[in-house]
């Protein structure tokens, strides 16, 4: 029995090493491409008066701290108001959100709030109700804590001039970066994730991800395929893969920047990571076979899609890798121990943060960030925090898939004063 455990442990060390190597090579290629490669640009620079009618959806649940800011920002948008409707969705709020929406509704005729009081709560359910209500062909979604700039909607929407485009994603930038160490670290992750990762995936014609906010999608294919799935927490990731499997593409528009509020407390961040991980892994369970057997995706897209779906599974593999290290060390399998520990907790440790240190560094360099980049080593400490909550998220996803229980949506707490 002991020998079997040690054998499995040794095999696991090699498998983990191999998986980590693949991810490292993948992200190194992304970094090289982003720094030296030809940069693809979206259709954002096209000037066209024939803009489509757009519905902007903003799911809101107890958003009195932030509701006004986003509505004011949207009223200042340069998008022609006769081609725009803004639908804030009040999802059973118990604070002053409804009152704020009524105030704006009375002032602006293109702001048409949807007041929900349904038993089915959560972002996906709210978006589905709003999709029935929305009249635009193109749907733009913002979270309530976002502050879109004047030209953002046009910058996103113009991309649908290409009929093969199913969704567009913009770049998200934290608004409250300098609040504390957590917000600074999240900013570094965002920089690596958008400036380097998303842009290079777009450059290389892989699968840039639609992120569910600061993005837009074509309404028809989404509605025809049943809208958003209530049982999935990462409705954005699910939509990305659904569109790709239908033959559509996702465009990443690095210039379409939008500001968001990121969690300022660790407990809120922990819940956020756990929720993202759960949703992402739910999509992984559902879509891995579909991606492998799809005839709409190229080989490159399939490989990237599978690696993208594995991103929140990797922390669990690393956590098991740590337990495995104990077995290897105390059983005397020192060669595999060295191999695994050098691989998993040293050079690759930053994968717990979803972007390796060189990818983040490249992003900060291109952004001209000179000081915050010095916090990079702290991500190595943060690795254990993110690894733990991502792993819990994976187990949540497994639980939901097996038990088919209804998903409980947890709203991210707001900090704006």
């Amino acid at each position: 029995m002991v020998n079997i455990i040690i054998f499995i442990s040794k095999v696991y060390a090699y498998v983990l090493m191999f998986i980590l190597l693949i991810y490292t090579v993948r992200h190194y290629i992304f970094s090289l491409n982003r720094v030296f490669g030809k940069q693809r640009i979206s259709y954002g620079d096209i000037i066209d008066s024939d803009l489509p009618f757009v519905s902007v959806l903003i799911p809101m649940h107890n958003e009195e701290k932030v509701a006004k800011d986003i509505l004011i920002s949207l009223t200042l948008s340069s998008y022609p108001k006769d081609k725009l409707e803004i639908i804030p969705i009040d999802d059973s709020s118990e604070d002053n959100t409804a009152r704020i929406l009524k105030e704006f509704e009375s002032k602006y005729d293109y702001i048409r709030p949807l007041y929900r009081n349904s038993n089915r709560k959560g972002k996906a359910a709210a978006l589905n109700d709003a999709l029935r209500f929305a009249t635009g062909d193109i749907i733009v979604v913002f979270d309530a804590d976002y502050i879109p700039g004047k030209g953002l909607i046009r910058e996103l929407v113009i991309n649908f001039i290409d009929p093969s485009v199913g969704a567009v994603m913009g770049r998200v930038i934290p608004l409250n970066i300098s609040k504390n160490i957590l917000t600074r670290l999240i900013d570094l992750e965002r920089i690596g994730g958008y400036q380097t990762d998303q842009q290079s995936r777009f450059n290389l014609k892989l699968i840039p991800q639609y992120g569910g906010t600061t993005g837009a999608f074509r309404k028809e294919p989404v509605v025809l395929t049943g809208g958003f799935k209530n049982e999935i927490l990462a409705e954005d990731t699910e939509l990305t893969f659904r569109l790709y499997l239908m033959g559509y593409k996702v465009i990443y528009s690095n210039r379409a920047e939008c500001y968001e509020e990121v969690p300022e407390s660790w407990i809120v961040r922990a819940r956020q990571i756990r929720r993202w991980s759960c949703g992402h892994n739910q999509v992984m369970f559902l879509y891995v076979p579909k991606i492998i057997f799809s005839n709409k995706l190229t080989i490159k897209e399939k490989v990237d899609g599978l690696l993208l779906l594995g991103v929140y599974f990797l922390p669990l593999l690393l956590l098991i890798g740590i337990v495995n290290s104990f077995i290897l060390f105390f059983s005397g399998a020192y060669f595999q121990f060295i191999l695994q520990s050098v691989a998993s907790v040293s050079i690759f440790q930053s994968f717990g943060n979803f972007a390796p240190f060189f990818e983040i560094a490249v992003g900060t360099y291109l952004d001209g960030v000179t000081n915050r980049v010095k916090l990079l080593p702290i991500l190595g400490i943060n690795f254990f925090f993110e690894m733990w909550f991502s792993s819990l998220g994976f187990l949540d996803a497994l639980k939901y898939i097996i038990s088919k229980r209804e998903i409980h949506w947890q709203k991210t707490e707001r900090f704006r004063e």
Binding site: I41, S341, V345, Q349, Y365
Partner: protein
């Protein structure tokens, strides 16, 4: 006209300078050859220097099982039952204190460190007689790890800095500094490891592999790297970007 404006950050890319990359590559290869030739001597130095510093007159330097390196041949101390018991008790108490804290990155980092001591204490409390290593064997493991560090660091450094445009001497300095620092850390770690394992017992030996080993090495490497990126960014003044 394009030359006069810094491109928007969304579309920036860095002007590639092939000669710079070739120069760094040649320097790295030279450093690699140098370390490949010097590594046996360096491992001999670690053993011999530790022997001198800790006055281990009866210990000798022997060859390792693989790669023709050298290692200090000496014996460590097995923990007494009471030592393992108290170590387990204290580390478990610390774990409980940590578990009731609110989520924070330090909480999970400290839990990881504490877990290593808990597992080690528990192992020496129950399975002491099955411990598969002598201090010489542990030092052999440490020697392999540290030697691979010295070989890997120039390559990892070179691969990490090719993205950034800065003066070539700064790149060379960075690679050299990282390797020299690694050598210094490796030497100190070797001495401290032998001292602790001889005087405080094998219980704390896993700490040197799980926390103060490759993990610690990666932290200081990334620290130097982040300073390098910060300096390169400040130096460049946006002139390194092209459309």
């Amino acid at each position: 006209m394009v030359e006069k404006f810094t491109p928007h950050r969304a579309i920036r890319k860095v002007k590639i300078d092939r000669s710079e990359i070739i120069f760094v590559a040649i320097y790295t290869i030279i450093l690699e050859i140098l370390f490949y030739l010097l590594v046996p001597k360096i491992t001999y130095f670690w053993g011999n220097y530790t022997k001198t510093i800790l006055n281990l007159n009866y210990s000798s330097i022997i060859g390792t099982e693989y790669f023709n390196l050298y290692v200090l041949d000496t014996i460590g101390t097995f923990p007494q039952f009471s030592f393992s018991f108290f170590s387990l008790l204290i580390s478990t108490a610390i774990l409980f204190v940590l578990l009731i804290q609110r989520p924070h990155m330090m909480k999970y980092f400290l839990i990881y460190i504490d877990s290593v001591i808990i597992v080690s204490s528990f192992y020496f409390l129950i399975f002491k007689q099955f411990f598969p290593y002598t201090l010489t064997k542990l030092l052999e493991m440490l020697t392999y790890m540290q030697a691979s560090n010295l070989i890997l660091f120039p390559i990892v450094s070179a691969l990490s800095i090719i993205f950034f445009k800065t003066k070539i001497y700064k790149k060379i300095l960075f690679i050299t500094f990282v390797v020299l620092y690694a050598f210094l850390v490796d030497t100190v770690r070797y001495i401290v490891f032998v001292f602790i394992t001889k005087n405080l017992s094998y219980i704390f030996s896993p700490l040197f592999f799980f926390i103060l080993g490759p993990y610690f090495d990666s932290l200081y490497f990334v620290s130097f790297f982040s300073f390098f990126v910060s300096l390169s960014s400040k130096d460049s003044n946006g002139e390194m970007f092209e459309w």
